[in-house]
Point group: C4
Chain length 201, copies 4
C-alpha cells in the first residue's frame, strides 16, 4: 500500500512538473511578443510618425497574445482531465511547446509585413501546426482512456476533439484568402478567436 501511495505521488509530480514547465514556456512566449515592438531611435519631431508605423506590430501583439492565451486555456483545461503521463505524451507536449515558443517570430513578421502573403502564410501555418499538436495531445491522452480517468465523459472528449479541428480549417481558409487579399485573411484571424473564446471549452 505504501508502494501504491508512492507511485501516485510520483504520477502527481509528473503532471505537476509538466504543467510547471509548460506554463513557463507559455508565459515566456506570450511575454516575448512585446519585443517585436521596438522603441524607434529618431529625432523627437519624427517620433509620433514612427510610432504610428508600429501600429501593425501592436495589432499583431494583441492578436497573438489572445491566440496564445486561447492555447494556454485549452492546455489548462486538458490538464484538468489528464491525470497521468508517459513518454510519448511528454514528447507530444514538447513538440506543442516548440510550436508555441515559435509564435513570437511569425508574430513579428506579420507586424512588420502585414500586407504580404508570405507573412500571412507563415503566421497561419504556425498556428495550424500548434492546433494540430494540441489536438494530437488530447487525442493521445484520451483514446482508450490512456491518461485520463475512466469516468471522463466520452461526449466531452469527442466535443473537444471536434472543436480542436475547427481552427486548422479556418487558418487554412485564411491562407487561401491571403492570395486574394491579405487584409481579408487578417480579418479572419481577428474574428475567429473572438468567436471561439465566447464558446465554452
Amino acid at each position: 500500500m505504501i508502494r501504491l501511495r508512492r507511485s501516485q505521488a510520483v504520477a502527481g509530480l509528473t503532471t505537476e512538473r509538466i504543467t510547471a514547465f509548460s506554463d513557463g514556456v507559455f508565459s515566456i512566449a506570450i511575454t516575448l511578443l512585446v519585443l517585436n515592438l521596438r522603441v524607434p531611435i529618431v529625432l523627437s519631431s519624427k517620433l509620433p510618425g514612427e510610432l504610428l508605423k508600429q501600429s501593425p506590430s501592436l495589432l499583431s501583439y494583441l492578436l497573438s497574445f489572445v491566440i496564445v492565451g486561447i492555447y494556454w486555456i485549452a492546455h489548462h483545461n486538458m490538464f484538468h482531465y489528464i491525470k497521468r503521463s508517459d513518454r510519448p505524451f511528454l514528447w507530444i507536449n514538447i513538440l506543442l511547446l516548440m510550436c508555441v515558443a515559435f509564435i513570437p517570430f511569425p508574430a513579428g513578421l506579420l507586424g512588420q509585413y502585414p500586407t504580404q502573403s508570405i507573412s500571412v502564410i507563415i503566421y497561419a501555418s504556425s498556428l495550424i501546426l500548434t492546433n494540430l499538436m494540441l489536438s494530437l495531445l488530447w487525442w493521445y491522452a484520451t483514446s482508450n482512456h490512456r491518461l485520463v480517468d475512466q469516468d471522463t465523459d466520452p461526449h466531452f472528449v469527442r466535443t473537444v476533439n471536434r472543436r480542436n479541428m475547427t481552427a486548422p480549417v479556418v487558418y487554412l481558409v485564411s491562407i487561401g484568402l491571403s492570395f486574394l487579399s491579405p487584409l481579408a485573411s487578417l480579418i479572419v484571424f481577428f474574428l475567429f478567436p473572438c468567436i471561439t473564446s465566447s464558446q465554452a471549452t
Copy 2:
C-alpha cells in the same frame, strides 16, 4: 462526498495554474524591463558620457519595476480571496496580463524620450488600462460573491474597488500635466507609487 472533494481539488488546481501562469508573465515582464538599458558600443573614453545618457532609462526601469511590483502585489492579494474561476474571469485575467506584458515597451519609450508628451501619454495610458483591467478582475470576482467566499468582508471588497479607481484618475491627471510640463507629470508618476505602497492593500 468523494465527488465534492474531487471538484474542490480541480477548483484548487484552477486558481493554482492561473496564479502560476500570471506569476510567470509578471516576473518575465518585470525582468524584461532591464533590456531597455543598452550597453553602449563606443570608444572607452566616451563610455562615462554615454552611460550618463542612459539615466532616464535607469529611472524608467526603477519606476516601472515598482509599478509592476504594485500590480503584482495587488494581484497576489486579490487571489487570497478568489477561490474559484470561470471562463470570463480567465479572459479578464489574460487581458490584464496583456497590459502587464506590454509595459516594457512604454517603459523603454519613456526612458528614451523622457521629455516628450507622447511617450508620457503612451506610458500613462498603458498604466490606466492595466488598472482598469485589475479593477474589472476584482469587480467581476466579488460581485454577488461570484468567485470569493461568502464570508468575505463586504467593506473590504468596496475599499479595494474604490482604491483601484484612484490610480486611473491620477494617471489621467498626469497625462493632462504632460501638455504643460512632461517633467511635472513624471514627478506625479514617481510620487504616486510611493504614497500608494505605504498604504495597506
Copy 3:
C-alpha cells in the same frame, strides 16, 4: 518526532524549489531560442529570399529545442528519484543550468554559420559539457544512495549512468566529423536525439 516531520517538510520544500528554479531556467532557455530568428528589415520584394536564408536558423531552433527538451526530460526523470538535497548537489545543479542557459548562444551561432567547423565545435562542446554536468548530478545523487531512497533499483541507476555517457561520446565524434564535413556532423546531431528519445529514460 515533530522534529523528524519538520525536517521532511524542509527537505520537500528544497527539491520543490530546486525543480521550480530549474524548470524556470529550462523553460526560459528553450523559449529564448526563438530570438535567434530575426525578422528581416528589407524591401517586400526581397522578403521571401531573406526568409529562406533563415532556414539554417530554423533548423537550429528545431534541433536545439528537441535537445533542451531531452535534457529537461532527463532532469525531470532524475528528480523522480532524488528526494533530498545538499549544498554540493545545489551547486552541480546550478552549473548544469549554466550550461543549459548558455545553449541559445551556440544555437544562434550554428544557425548563422552552419557550415563552419568552429560553430559546430562550439555547439557540440556546449552539449558535451551539459551532458557531463547531467551525469555528474545523477552520479552525485545516487552514489551511496546519498540523495535517493534506499530502495532505488541499483540496476536502473547504473543504466542511467551508462546512458548519460553515450551522448558526450557521440558529440565528440561529431566534432571530429566537422573537420571532414560540417554537414556530416550536423546529420549526427539530428539523428542522435531521434534515436535517444525513442528509447526509455
Copy 4:
C-alpha cells in the same frame, strides 16, 4: 479553529507565491545573461577572431551566473525559515528582485569593457546593493522573530546576518582596487564566490 486553519492556509499561500514570483525573476535574470553574448555578423574567415573577442563576455557570463546562483541559494535558504509575510517584507523582497533583475546590464557592461574602472564600479555597486537588500530582508524577517518561528536558532540568525555583510565589504574593496588595476578587482570578483560557496549557508 476553522478561522485559524484558514489563516494558516493563507499565510502558506503567501510565502508560496512570493517564492514562485522570486524564483521566476531569479531564473529569468540568470537566463537573460546569455543575451550579452552576441552572434557576430562577419565574414566566415573573421569568425574565430570575432568569437575570441567575446571571451570577456563569456567570463562575465560565468561569473554573473555563479553570483546570481549564490543569491538564489541564499534567498532559498532564508525562505526555509521565513514562515509568514507582511507588507514591508513584500516590498523589501521586490526591491531585492529589482537589484537581481538589473544584473544583466552591469554584466553586459563588464563583458564589453572589462578593463574600464567605470564598468567595474557599476558592476560592484549593483552587487553591493543586492547584498544589502538581501541582508535587510533577513534582518527584517528575523528581528523579534517577526516572520520566522520562535524556535529558530538565534546563533544561526546572527551568523547569517554577519555573513551577509562580508560581501559588500569585499565588493567595496574591489571598487577601490579597480582604480589601481581593473584586473586585480576582477580577480577578487572571481575568487570571492569560490570561497563563499565552499562555506555552509
